[in-house]
Amino acid sequence: MISDAILFWILAFLSLSAGLTVVMIANPIYSALALVMTMVSVAGLFVTLGAYFLAGVQLIVYAGAVMVLFVMVLMLFDLKNEVYAFTQGLLTNVVKLGCLGLLAGLLAGTLVLSSYQSQEIQDKVVAAADQTKALGQLLFTQYLFGFEVLGILLLIVAIGAVALSRSRGGTHHV
């Protein structure tokens, strides 16, 4: 248990600090790299929660594909190191931060004070393979429709992105 706790705290620290870095650091490339760090640690958290398949997907899809996309775009833009990370405006920023702080407080308060169903769960150690199988079963039965639509969505996005790139102002002029 303690090891779990230690692992959690490390991952939590990593993900949170990386997340903060994403937000705080001026250079977008560093932001992107920090985001990769966050994703990886989130994948680690998935592992601690026993979602091995998702952890894999997280690494491959997110940290791999998506983040590469981001980095590529950033490279493409060739943005110089920016001086200011944040938009200017003291008053508005104070308002924004205050608002965020309040929201954080609200959420934290609620989460701390809430009671949860089945707080202590039976430590059901399921083999990774079994779980993935179950996941697959669920995906192709109950959530089949969503899955199909998701497929179509990806197609749409693919075609749309191409179309956009070929549109006026896009990357590929015809």
Binding site: I2, L45, V61, L79, K96, L97, V112, I121, L150
Partner: protein, 108 residues
């Protein structure tokens, strides 16, 4: 010792708090950052936070639906990122600008 217990006994609450912290972090990025691409990243961050919370719920209630949800969210996040980046690229190619303050022509 409640305090020590709270640190050593990791439960749903911890994950949820972490998730909310990340979520706020992402929100802060969206609200505060100047660079449009970083704003897109911040949205990704928020989605990740949501994912943590889903998985945590899924784990502690031993309901796999949460994981399915995460699976979908990831896909959609990817699609969203693709669309967002496509839009950004098309804008950047034309106007050479990623500062969010650039997009203030429409107002009033």
């Amino acid at each position: 010792m409640y305090n020590l217990n709270w640190f050593s006994q990791i439960g749903l609450q911890h994950y949820l708090l972490l998730s909310s912290a990340l979520f706020i972090c992402g929100m802060a990025g969206v609200l505060l950052r100047k660079n449009a691409i970083v704003i897109l990243m911040s949205i990704e961050l928020m989605l990740n936070a949501v994912n943590i919370s889903f998985v945590a719920f899924s784990h502690y209630q031993s309901k796999l639906e949460g994981q399915i949800m995460v699976f979908f969210v990831m896909t959609i996040a990817a699609a969203e990122a693709a669309v967002g980046l496509a839009i950004m690229v098309s804008i950047f190619k034309r106007f050479r600008e990623v500062n969010i303050r650039f997009f203030e022509r429409l107002k009033g």
